[in-house]
Every structure is written in C-alpha cells, then in structure tokens.
C-alpha cells in the first residue's frame, strides 16, 4: 500500500502546493494518521483518496499556522493550493509529470536517481543511501540540493511537448534502467544482486508502460528488465557465487516473468518501431527460449546485436556482440573483434577476453587477463567467480 500509493499522493500534492517539501511532509503526515486510524476505524472506501485528502487538509492547516508567522514559503504554497483544485480523475498524469521533473536533464544523474526513488518510489533517504553505498548525510544533501534546484531554477512539472519527448524520455528510461542495473549487479559490496532495487525499477517500468503505452521503448525496457530478472534465482549459488548464463539451471528461471516479457517483445515486434531497449529485450527473449546454452539461436542473437549497433555504436555493445560471435564463428574470430575494442578499464572486457583465450588454450595470456579483470571489479561475487576461473587454469 505504502509503496504503491506514495508516489501518486506525492505527485498530486506537489501539483496542489507547487512545493516538494510541503507535499512530502503532508503525505508522511497522512500515512502516520492512516496507521493510527485505520486499524480501529477500518479501511476507508478509497484509501488512496483518503490519503490525498487528508494530506491536503493537514498541509493547509500547517501552512496556515506558518503563514500567520509571515513565512513567505508557506504563503506561496497556500496561494498555490487555492488556485489548484484537487482532481480525483487523471491522477496518473501527475506521476508522469513528476517523473519527468525528477529526471530533468538539468539535474545530475545521481540526483535524478535519488529523486525518483524518493518521490515516486517512496524510499527513505536512509534506504537510498544504503542502496548506493553513500553516507546518509551525503544522500540527504544531494536530495536537498536537487529539490532546491527544482524550486529555484523553475524546473517545470510537465510532460514535455511532443518535439522534446523522445530526448527527455531517454533520460527517464536511463534512470529506471540504472536503478535496475545497480540492483542486478551491485557495482560494489558483498552481494551480487540487490533485489529491492530491481523490484523498484520493475515497478516504475510497469507504471511507465501503463502511463505511456504509445512509446514502444517504454514496454521495451519493461520486457528487458522482466527477462533479465527471470534469471535471478539461477544466477547465484546458495553460497552467493555467480553462475554464468551457460551454466545456469534453466529450470530455476521464472517462467511467469519470461512469459510476460516474451509477450511484450512479440507486441513490440508487431508494432515495428524498434529501439535500443526493445532490441536488448529481444536478445534476452531469444536466450529465454533456449533449453540450454548449446541450443540457443546464436545466429539470431548476432543479428540482433548487428541491429543494436546501428542505434548504439558503443564498444560495450560490440563486446557483447563478440560473445555471441564466439558461439557462431568460434573463439578465434571473437577474440579478433574483442582485441580491437578500447575498453581497457572495463572489467568485463578482460573477463571476456580471458574466457576466449582459455577456450583457445592460451592459458598464460588468459591468466593475465583474469588478473586484470579481478583488479578492476569491486563486486565481491564477480571477483570470486573470476578468481575461481583463474585458478582452474593452474599456476
């Protein structure tokens, strides 16, 4: 209830008062009141409506007290509230407005992510700080600064005009995918996966897909996250060690998530308006169809990577394509592609190179490449996996 309704309530209240802090405080008040009242009085007919109305009334009471002490901010928020009738209807639009505000390009990526998790996800500052392994005061300061910039620089609460939408939507999708990826391979720390962040990203992805059904990249991102998430249980051993795709027990993949993801990919294909998220989702859909690594349709995966590289020429895409090429044309051909890439500081570049060298029997070079990969990763589970691989080559 809290997670589901928090973002909606905050979005409506920001609209009413034109001020993020007033909205957050009001919604927190209303949830506190709900915890006190509902167990005794029973659930109101419309809990979401109750939260919004209570939050609005409490905020107005509080602002009146402050405004009488000549608090300019409180006066401004009250004035704003008088002009903004509370709409019970299209509240979904309010959340959409809010996510475009949170992900405005005038804010740094770190601030975009933190604001999105705070305002739409309802995570506390403590939770966000823990998720990104930064000290809580640092995260609190980041949020205060971002909210201050929204207020003072006049970042609007608005879904961008059609002409700006593709660019601005990219920023929203990038934030959601970054939250997912941070959850899926925590960039540092003991656990490989932080499931809470994955769940939150998927929840945001589902909301966006409902709110913007005409933008095919939105369901594309959702499908990508669902299909990757479907492998989570198989991706680590009971002891927390990483299991590569080829060695995963495919019976442990989540069939429901796969079915949902595949259905979205099929729908995207039918609409024929491809983009980077949809193509990556399609690649994952091909993996999810195969009963084993050997029976995977690797030529189709190479084709999809070819398609992806026409949208995204980054060397990381080329690196992933080379992994698929190894299955179609052999490790030698793949290694030639990998060696041409300028990715010396990326640990997976060295890990993939090491694996190809190992398959070619070039153990000395493979060991050296594993060593480099190990020094470049901060994730403990990935590091353990790479250490095992290196040890299997002997000294």
């Amino acid at each position: 209830m809290f997670r589901a309704e928090h973002g909606r309530a905050v979005a409506v209240l920001i609209r009413v008062f034109g001020d993020i802090d007033v909205a957050e405080e009001a919604v927190a008040d209303a949830f506190t009141a709900a915890v006190q009242r509902w167990p005794a009085d029973g659930l109101p007919p419309s809990p979401a409506g109750w939260i919004i109305t209570t939050a609005r009334n409490r905020a107005i009471d509080r602002l009146r007290r402050q405004a009488s002490r000549a608090d300019r901010h409180a006066q401004a928020a009250l004035l704003h509230a008088r002009d903004e009738p509370i709409e019970e209807g299209p509240v979904q639009d309010e959340r959409l407005r809010l996510i475009f505000t949170c992900c405005h390009p005038a804010l740094g990526r770190g601030a975009q992510v933190a604001l999105t998790l705070r305002l739409l996800g309802g995570l506390t500052t403590t939770e966000i700080a823990r998720a990104f392994l930064v000290p809580e005061p640092t995260m609190a300061q980041r949020l205060v600064r971002a909210k201050g910039k929204i207020r003072d620089a006049g970042i609007p609460y608005r879904v961008p005009a059609a002409a700006d939408l593709p660019g601005r939507l990219q920023s929203v999708l990038a934030v959601v995918y970054l939250i997912f990826n941070e959850g899926y391979t925590a960039s540092s720390g003991p656990a490989l996966v932080r499931a809470d962040l994955c769940a939150e990203a998927i929840r945001l992805g589902r909301q966006l897909a409902l709110l913007m059904p005409d933008e095919t990249e939105v369901p594309g991102l959702l499908a990508l996250m669902l299909l990757v998430e479907s492998r989570r249980a198989a991706r680590t051993t009971a002891g927390g060690n990483l299991v590569p795709l080829a060695d995963q027990d495919r019976n442990r993949w989540d069939a429901d998530l796969i079915a949902e993801g595949q259905a979205i990919v099929r729908d995207c294909l039918r609409r024929n308006d491809p983009g980077v998220y949809q193509i990556q989702a399609a690649i994952n859909a091909v993996h999810s169809e195969a009963r084993s690594a050997q029976s995977t349709d690797w030529p189709q995966i190479v084709q999809l990577y070819d398609h992806l590289s026409t949208y995204d020429r980054s060397p990381v895409v080329a690196l992933n394509r080379a992994v698929a090429v190894a299955e179609v044309a052999g490790a030698e051909a793949a290694l030639a592609l990998v060696d041409g890439l300028d990715l010396g500081t990326y640990h997976l570049f060295h890990a993939i190179r090491a694996d190809l060298l190992r398959r070619l029997g070039r153990d000395v070079e493979a060991r050296a490449a594993y060593e480099t990969a190990i020094t470049l990763t901060d994730n403990a589970a990935e590091r353990d996996f790479l250490c095992q691989r290196r040890q299997s080559l002997g000294e």
Binding site: D152, A153, G154, I155
Partner: protein, 117 residues
C-alpha cells in the same frame, strides 16, 4: 515569470576572424528580435575583454583597487542576457538559441524572485 541570466562563456585570447563574427552578429540580432517579440527581453550586452576589468575590495573601510579580473582562468564571461521565462525549459530553449548563435557554452541561472535587500 522568473528572470534568468544567460551568460556566455568565452575562451581567453584574441577575437575570431571578422567573417565569423559577422555571422554571429547576424544570428544574435535575430535572436534578440525573437526575444523582444516574445516579451522575454530584459537586457543583453557584450562585455569588453577581462583585460579591461578592475576589482574593488574594502578593507578597514578603505577601498583597495586592483587591475585585472577577479578570477584568472581559461574562459571568461563575454556577455550576457537577462530574460523573462515561465520556467527552466523555456529559459533552456533561449539558451540553446544563444549557444547556436555564439557557438559557445551558455550558463543559465535563475535570479531570486523577490529582492532580498
């Protein structure tokens, strides 16, 4: 309406060739006409180079005057606009035109809405 400062960040050194400056001047004129037509114009002007700058400090109620800009860097503010815009997106739209006209980076900053002093 908020007032925004659009500041032009210009590399130090001599002026670009005259034929380049001519096309910049033409584009800037067109942009300023657009600003006036949209009711967004408040003020705009180019500045003389930092070599013409003077800094004043007061210590013990005495003015100390020194030659040169306050901060020496690789860039300086070459000129600026003050505009009226309903929100940051509108201000960024004008900044984009300014960046296209000058081919230089433009810093956008909001003014405080009520005079504090």
């Amino acid at each position: 309406m908020t007032k925004y400062l659009l500041a032009i960040y210009q590399p130090d050194g001599g002026p670009p060739p005259p034929e380049f400056m001519e096309s910049v001047a033409r584009d800037l004129h067109a942009m300023n006409q657009d600003l006036k037509a949209a009711g967004a114009w408040v003020f705009a002007r180019g500045l003389h180079p930092p070599s013409t700058a003077t800094v004043v400090r007061v210590r013990d109620r005495e003015a100390m005057i020194t030659d040169g800009p306050y901060v020496e860097g690789k860039e300086h503010i070459g000129g600026f606009w003050i505009i009226d815009a309903p929100d940051l997106d509108a201000a960024l739209g004008w900044a984009r035109k300014a960046a296209e006209a000058t081919t230089l980076p433009i810093e956008v900053r909001p003014f405080q809405d009520v005079p504090e002093y």
